[in-house]
Symmetry: C2
Subunit: 389 residues, 2 copies
């Protein structure tokens, strides 16, 4: 019976005379987080349209989204510990579990079979079956007897591994899920209060920004025996204990032409780091405290948004000259940006103007604006095929 109904819906969709999921590719799909309403909009970037909204996703402040291997399903991680599997084709919730008390994100394993959540409360990571969302195994972040740490900066890396940082423990852990029910974890001292982390696009270097001291902890996953190396002593302003809402999102670090562009902490600067030596190569003055610093997929441009009170601006840095070449005002409270897979356009969310603006990255012309309720994160499905998302 359900089959018949589905069939009729599909027939209708194909004929364009009723609602319902038609056959379509999923390589140009994505979701926009609507944090105020706890819903996501499913969008497509070929025609720059919204395909529908999916409500009922809980607390989506600081939400993260990652994708199934086939790019059909979005895994939405909510601040309330909710993990929801959303079908982009039917725009329906397939499965939803509350897996922790407080979570800030997760990633999918290299083979696509595990979804791993990183949790604040209780601190640790949990691995779920990507098909069913059943719990497969977990690694509590117990760094000393009875002491649990918040987990930050989780990133999937090659070899069915995940790298992440422990805020209270001051450590970086690397867990191998090759045997899914029996994960093996290596621990590395990292420094005071790592507050976020990321892995380079090739999955080789895991970096954690330090909040309790200046500098960044760098672990070469090709040579873990060498342990964590401290780089950029001039980075950050740990001693001033900046409120976390002003801290940059390291997930946004941009690699372009052998250099990493990353947000200075507290300063109105983007730091340029030579990734062969991991030393500072330059600083680019910008309009405010950078939050996301993201490279266009070809690395020719780096786009930057800012913390309050400069969060209405977006600046574009030309990477060869390391100069700001464009300043844009997409709207109030710009929270996130997402490039199309080959970088022809970028989608920018303006929370307080309730819209998403799509820019041509070459001419900077506005190609489209889409209404959205307090939009924050934008995540396209090509992330399914990339390392470290």
């Amino acid at each position: 019976m359900r089959c018949r109904i589905a069939g009729l819906l599909l027939a209708g969709a194909l004929s364009g005379c009723a609602n319902g999921p038609a056959l379509r590719g999923t390589g140009d799909l994505g979701v926009v987080i609507e944090r105020a309403t706890g819903s996501v909009q499913v969008v497509e970037h070929s025609g720059r349209t919204s395909l529908g909204a999916v409500p009922g996703l809980g607390d989506l402040s600081h939400a993260h989204v990652t994708y199934s291997r086939d790019a059909r399903y979005a895994f939405v991680f909510g601040r309330d510990g909710g993990l929801t599997k959303v079908d982009l084709l039917t725009q329906r919730i397939v499965k939803r579990v509350i897996q922790a008390g407080n979570s800030i994100g997760g990633s999918v394993s290299q083979d696509g079979r595990l979804v791993v959540a990183q949790n604040y409360q209780p601190g640790g990571i949990k691995a779920f079956d990507a098909e069913t969302l059943e719990l497969v195994s977990e690694v509590p972040a117990e760094y000393a007897l009875g002491q649990f740490s918040k987990v930050v900066g989780l990133a999937d890396v090659p070899g069915q591994k995940f790298a992440y940082a422990l805020f209270e423990a001051g450590e970086i852990w690397v867990t191998d899920f090759s045997d899914p029910k029996h994960p093996k974890t290596e621990r590395f001292p990292a420094g005071k209060q790592p507050y976020d982390g990321l892995v380079t696009p090739d999955g080789r270097y895991f970096m954690a920004g330090l909040f309790g001291e200046d500098g960044i902890a760098l672990l070469d996953l090709w040579h873990p025996e060498k342990g964590v190396r401290k780089i950029l002593d001039g980075y950050g302003r740990g001693e001033e204990k900046l409120p976390v809402y002003k801290m940059p999102h390291l997930r946004g670090w941009a690699m372009a032409g052998g250099f990493a562009f990353l947000p200075a902490v507290g300063r109105h600067e983007v730091l340029v780091v030579d990734t062969r030596t991991w030393t500072e190569a330059a600083r680019v003055p910008v309009k405010g405290q950078p939050v996301f610093v993201m490279a266009r997929p070809d690395g020719r441009q780096v786009w930057v948004n800012f913390a309050f009170p400069d969060n209405g601006w977006v600046q574009v840095i030309d990477t060869p000259t390391r100069q700001v070449v464009k300043t844009l005002a997409p709207g109030k409270a710009v929270l996130h940006m997402e490039f199309t897979p080959r970088g022809d356009e970028v989608w920018v969310s303006s929370r307080d103007d309730n819209r998403v603006t799509v820019y041509d990255t070459d001419s900077f012309a506005v190609r489209q604006t889409l209404p959205a309720t307090a939009p924050s994160g934008i995540f396209f499905s090509h992330r399914a095929g990339r390392i470290g998302f």
Copy 2:
């Protein structure tokens, strides 16, 4: 009427009680070229299975495949000048045109709206509407009055541009399709008989291997005003006029950790080139004349196959140590390899054993073998979101 039939098929597919296309993601799909029968197999790499065969694609010797922006459609370029649009979901031909007398491939524009074919006879490139395959515009490779050149090494690059080389003209051309009906072309002297080319994954450097002289022509597309620079004078064996069937496929050049691994011409070596200086950094001895030299997506390994008589072997180079760490014998006449998007597995075609072998790239264990009729090229749909394919 067609809509009703489709609907019934879809209903059947959903209920699993009849054949027909069900809703599914397209991020894990691909095609395997079956050159002997002029057909492709549609495959999926999550479960490592074949979904069906699509015949009627003409002469698929030296075929190339690229993908629509939504990763639903494969554009198959045949040696006979045929350009066929294949629907991966229905496993049917949507449209087929004979667009030239002799063609070796093509690419899709950055915005996904144009499919551009590179042709030997008549020499030039043609742009087609990706939706309808109607001709939009063309650029004949007329380098001197009445003299037309074969086009090789076509690559899509950012800004709606395509870079390619002209064999007889000894030039590299860059054509801008921002105004699709009125393409603008820049010409650059490149050297004697460029025989193939590629663009780096960031779309910045276009390189053409030279057949008529030693060396490689390098054009920095961020600084075209500097013109073409000749690199690797030690590269190639132009003076010996090697038969083209022994020439490596440059499309296989691998970038890993700031170094390019590329096949020496004629020699049993893989050359390692520092991409900051474009000078030779090392040579890795291998079992035969390399044809494809391909980096695993994380750059930790480079996989190499070989020209006859060594075409039954595949060797794996560990990039940090630049040593061959594994030698595999997948079967007779290994013609191509394709990595899964995040590199956990690689698919290898063995033409004369009529099979495709899927390896775990970490353990080198065989995960699956699939029967195929004289398989050659393997192309996965994540190419839709990458530059230069």
